[in-house]
Every structure is written in C-alpha cells, then in structure tokens.
C-alpha cells in the first residue's frame, strides 16, 4: 500500500519537462572553440586536397637565382629556401604529406587499439591478461625512441615510420577501448542478449561497439595531433619522410642549417604543425563536451 504525502501549503505543482534532447551536432555547433578548430581543420584538409591548384610554383623546382629570399619578396609570399624553392608551395605540398601521414598513423593505431581493446575487454581471462601486460610493457618504452628504432631498422620511409607509430601509440588506444568495453559489458541489456544465446560477435558489434565509438572519436582527434607531432619529430631526424618529398617536419629539418640566416624557414612549418594540432585538440575537447550528458546548455 502506498502512502501519499500531502503537498506543503503554497507549493505549486510544476510540470516536469521532458529531457530536452539536443542533438550532438547542435551541441557541437554551440561550442565556438570547437567550431574554430573544425573550420581550421577544414581549411587544412582543403589545402591538402586542392593544394596543387593554388600552389604558385612546383614545390620541387629549384631556382638558384632566388635562394633564401625573405617573406614578402616579389613573387614569393613566404620567401624561398636554400635551393630557391618557393616556401609557400612547399608548405602546401607538405600539408598533404603531413595529413596523409597523420591519417596513416592514426588509422593503424586505432585498428590495433580497437581489435585488441575489444578482445581484452570482452573476453577477459588470460586474453585480457596477456594483452594488458604487453600494453604495460610497451608503455614503459620511451615512445619516440622506440619509434625511431623500429622505423630506423625497417628502413627510413614514411610508411615504416607510421607502422612504428602505430605500434608505439596503440597501448593508449587499447586501454581506452578496453575501459569502454568493461563499462558496458555488465549492463543488463548485454546480459539479456547473452542469456538468449546471441553470439559473441553479434553482441560485440550491436551492443558493445556503439558504446565504444563516442570516446574513441574524442581520442582519435587528440591522437591525430599526437601522430602529427611525432611524425614531425621522426621526419626531423631523418627516419620519416624522405627528400625531396616535403612534410612540415622534414621542412624544419632542412631549415635548421640556415636558422641564423633564414629564420622564416623554421617559423612557418612549425606554425602549421602547432595550428593543426591545436585545432585537433579544440575539436577533440568540443566533441567530448558535446557527447557528455553534462554539457547540454
């Protein structure tokens, strides 16, 4: 039998409004910083895709009569490098290389992370123990040094550098995915699916994976920034992108010898890296806040 509690005098019964379901995109659109990051990234991607159309010169063509021209020189908006190549054209070409590198490294990391993280979180037992132990061990290695060693041994090239990066960064992704899986695998609806004999693969794809995706998207944005930074470092020391191909990191590497005479060669590629990574971070933070239930402004 239920007991009714009389409402206090003077209290008015307010109609309880149903929770306002604001869509993810709408919440994201309300975040100015995330939008700024998104627009910046869109510009960077457009430059990477259609750069060859707006590039003033062929980025690899040298002009010994126009060596180390400062920014603002006639015909050369950002100046020229030590071989007389137009810096703006090389930055545009480098955008494509750097983005492809970020895409490769991020995809590989996520592929390893999702596969092993799902396996560890879902199957538990010795599968989880082995995967998490190896993950712990890999996290003890100084990441860049291990990447240099792997890329150096495989042979200096962008592909090998990205394979190295995938191995080095995967532990973070594995931990994240496993954590998300552990969070949902004991939920009632998963138990219910298991109790009616739904195959493990189907439970993974239909019930668990959708819950892993939101935090993973946030992680991917931050991860892509990390990949970009490490790729720049690897290319800077010569185990990433190989000349004459230009990534921002490789451009910084070749600029270093002329840093006293032509500082602009070092400034612009570094700025491009910082701006892109910053934009990815802003976007990642924005997505996180838009996914979270707390942020429904």
């Amino acid at each position: 039998m239920t007991q009714t509690v009389p409402a206090p005098a003077g209290a008015t019964t307010l109609p309880v409004a149903p929770p306002k379901r604001v869509g993810f995109l709408r919440r994201l659109a309300q975040q100015k910083l995330a939008i700024a990051g998104l627009i910046t990234l869109a510009v960077v991607v457009l430059v990477a895709l259609f750069g060859s159309l707006i590039s003033p010169y062929n980025p690899d063509v040298t002009s010994l009569g126009a060596v180390l021209l400062p920014p603002g020189s006639p015909g050369y908006l950002l100046g020229t490098d030590e071989l007389g190549r137009d810096l703006l054209s090389r930055l545009i070409s480098g955008t494509q290389v750097s983005l492809v590198a970020a895409l490769q490294g991020t995809s590989l990391t996520v592929a390893i992370g999702v596969t092993l993280g799902l396996a560890a979180g879902f199957f538990r037992g010795w599968v989880e123990k082995v995967i998490m132990f190896v993950t712990d061990v890999l996290m003890s290695f100084p990441g860049i040094l291990l990447a240099i060693a792997i890329a150096g041994i495989l042979g200096p090239s962008l592909n090998n550098a990205m394979i190295a990066l995938g191995i080095v960064l995967a532990p973070g992704a594995i931990r994240l995915v496993r954590g998300s899986v552990l969070g949902v695998r004991e939920e009632t609806y998963v138990e219910a699916a298991r109790s009616i004999g739904t195959p493990s693969g189907q439970i993974l794809v239909r019930h668990i994976l959708p819950n892993v995706v939101p935090p993973l998207i946030v992680y991917i944005a931050i991860l892509a920034g990390q990949v970009m930074l490490i790729e720049a470092g690897l290319s800077f020391i010569g185990v990433g992108v190989q000349p004459p191909q230009a990534s921002w990191g490789a451009m910084l590497s070749s600029s270093f010898a002329y840093i006293d005479r032509a500082p602009w060669l070092a400034v612009f590629p570094g700025l491009m890296i910082a701006i892109s990574v910053f934009a990815l971070n802003l976007l990642g933070d924005g997505i996180r806040d838009s996914i979270g239930k707390k942020v429904t402004r």
């Binding site: 132990f133 712990d136 061990v137 996290m139 290695f141 041994i153 470092g233």
Partner: protein
C-alpha cells in the same frame, strides 16, 4: 588554530603530521609491484632483443651492406651470434645483460655499455633539469589556475599549457635558439660541457634544451594539477579551513597542494618515458652528445647493438621510475598505506 572535530579527512591527517608507517598490506602491495617490475623488465628485454628480427632480409647482410664481401657478412653474423638458435641468442644476450655486457658496437668497435656510460651524463642532465622545471612550473601554474579558476589567470595559463602541448619540442628548441642565442645572445646555441669541467658553462648549455623538453611535460602536469586541486578546493574540509580563518594562500599550500599532488605523482612515471623519448629529438637540435644523438647515429649507421642498448637502458629507467612512483604513492597516500 587547532582543528575542530569538523575538520576531518585529509585535513586532519595533515594536522597530525603522522610519520608514514607501512602496514603489512602496503608492503605486500610494494612486493607485488616489484614482482611486476621484474616481469615487465624481462618482457622488455624480449621485445628489445626482437628488434633485430625487424631488420629486413638477412640482418647480417643488411648491417654489412649489400656490397660487403661474404667474409664480412660471416664475421657480423658470428659477432651477433646470428648463426645460433634464437632462444640461445636471447639467453646469451640476457646473460650478458645481467653482467652489464650489452655487446660491442659495430661502428665504434667499443663496448655498448661504455658508449652509453659516456653519453649518459649529458642526457641525464637535460632530462632531470627538464623534469624539475616541468614539475615545479607545472604544479605551481596548475595551482594558480585552480585558485583563480574561471578568471583571467586561469584562462591565460590554460592557453599557455595548451600551446605547450600542441607545439613540437624540437621546434620550441629552434625558436629558443633564434631568440636567446641569435637575437639576444644569452645562451650558447649548441654543444655541451661536462658539469665537472665547468658547472656554469654546463648550466648555460642545458637551460634551453631543458626548457624545450620541459614544456610539454610541464603543460601536462599543469592540467593534471589544475584539475585535481580544483576538485580538492570544492571539498568541505577546505571550506571548514577557510571558515576557521586560514588564509586562501595557506589553505592552498597546506591543504590543497598536499592532497592535490597525489594524482600528479602518479603521472610523473609515465611523463618520464615521454621526456626520455623527447630528449632524442631535442638533443639533435642542440647538438648535445647524449644518448639521443647516439641513438640517431646508430640508426643511420645500422649499429643494432648500440640501438638495442639505448632502448633497453632508457626503458629500464622508466620501469624503475614507475616502480619508485608506486612506492612513493603508497608511502604518501594514507588510503593505500593502511589498506
């Protein structure tokens, strides 16, 4: 002012200033962590040894060069023990390792341990200086941001820490050289002097690399401290302490820092890995004869034993720092200590 009965929890612990006492449970925890450290070490040796198997094709030919004569290839194969079964090779390498023998460099013709010992002081100088800068700077700025949360100081420091995270450390190094070696010639651009030779010159040489290296780690610690101290500042015992008349600064220093620093301690171990890795590229910028430049030289020269040695030594440092961090956490944190 004495604590009232309402001042409970971490504040009370802070007031009593009890000496850390390790219970049996805590000792068991440390023992377990030690066992895990040994296991991680063994696995790490296995991975480092396996790096040799990544060499495309026949490692001996790859190391000797395509044009090398068969005698040289055979010599390298024999030197590396590649003519023996894999398990024997590993156990022999591990045996050497435990006696401090990491093999000989293929290029320098000198023991790897000797080469690493020669280069270690430079790397250690930069890494330790960077860690000190990062911890002091990161924690102080993080506390400042937490104390003035939402205000201008918070916003400025948060933007600065974000910049620290998104900027490549080697580029920061290049910009520092441009500013403080060329534009305002305060510090030498490149090179290194041993502390024992000239401490002042040593300091002058490591300041810029240490700042470049510390920036990202410091920024990460700033975020961590800001978040954990902000949480602490909303706790009841902080409000009680303020109500008792303790100044804002005193509450921050005596209460919030002590309890808010716990999560920071735990991330220092992982930051050490980032710092040692990052130093490789920074050493290259400042042309410092440390482990990083040795690693890059050994990659270029395909000097596998040296490369394996450097990766292993730095990894062992990280493993030990992680273990010590765990112990420190156990000793500092009453919840872990008495459980």
């Amino acid at each position: 002012m004495t604590a009232t009965p309402t001042a409970t929890g971490p504040q009370a612990a802070g007031k009593r200033r009890t000496h850390p006492k390790l219970t049996l449970g805590a000792l068991r925890f440390i023992g377990l962590r030690f066992g895990r450290m040994v296991l991680v070490f063994v696995m790490a040796t296995l991975l480092v040894f396996s790096l040799a198997s990544l060499v495309p094709g026949d490692p001996a030919i790859a190391l000797a060069g395509e044009d090398a004569d068969p005698a040289t290839v055979a010599l390298i194969r024999s030197e590396l023990g590649l003519d023996r079964p894999w398990a024997v090779q590993y156990l022999s390498w591990l045996g050497g390792l435990l006696t401090g023998d990491l093999g000989d460099s293929l290029i320098y013709r000198a023991p790897v341990t000797e080469l690493i010992a020669d280069r270690f002081p430079a790397s250690l100088s930069i890494a330790v200086s960077a860690m000190i800068l990062a911890v002091v700077g990161g924690v102080l700025v993080g506390m400042l941001a937490a104390a003035f949360r939402g205000r201008i100081a918070d916003r400025v420091t948060t933007v600065l820490s974000t910049l620290g995270i998104v900027t490549p450390n080697f580029w920061v190094g290049m910009i520092l050289i441009l500013l403080f070696s060329f534009a305002i010639p305060l510090f030498p651009a490149v090179g290194y002097t041993d502390f024992t030779d000239d401490p002042v010159d040593w300091l002058a040489h490591i300041i810029l690399p240490a700042i470049a290296l510390a920036l990202a780690v410091g920024a990460e610690l700033q975020r961590q401290t800001r978040s954990s101290v902000s949480d602490i500042l909303t706790q009841d015992y902080i409000r009680t302490a303020r109500a008792q008349g303790l100044s804002r600064g005193r509450v921050l220093w005596t209460r919030a820092l002590k309890n808010g620093s716990m999560p920071v301690v735990t991330v220092i171990g992982y930051q050490m890995a980032g710092l040692l890795g990052g130093s490789v590229v920074v050493e290259k910028v400042f042309n410092i004869p440390g482990l990083g430049t040795l690693a890059i030289d050994s990659v270029v020269a395909k000097d596998l034993p040296v490369l394996q040695g450097i990766v292993l030594v730095t990894t062992v440092i990280v493993i030990i720092v992680n273990f010590l961090t765990d112990v420190l956490y156990t000793v500092l944190n009453p919840k872990v200590r008495v459980s």
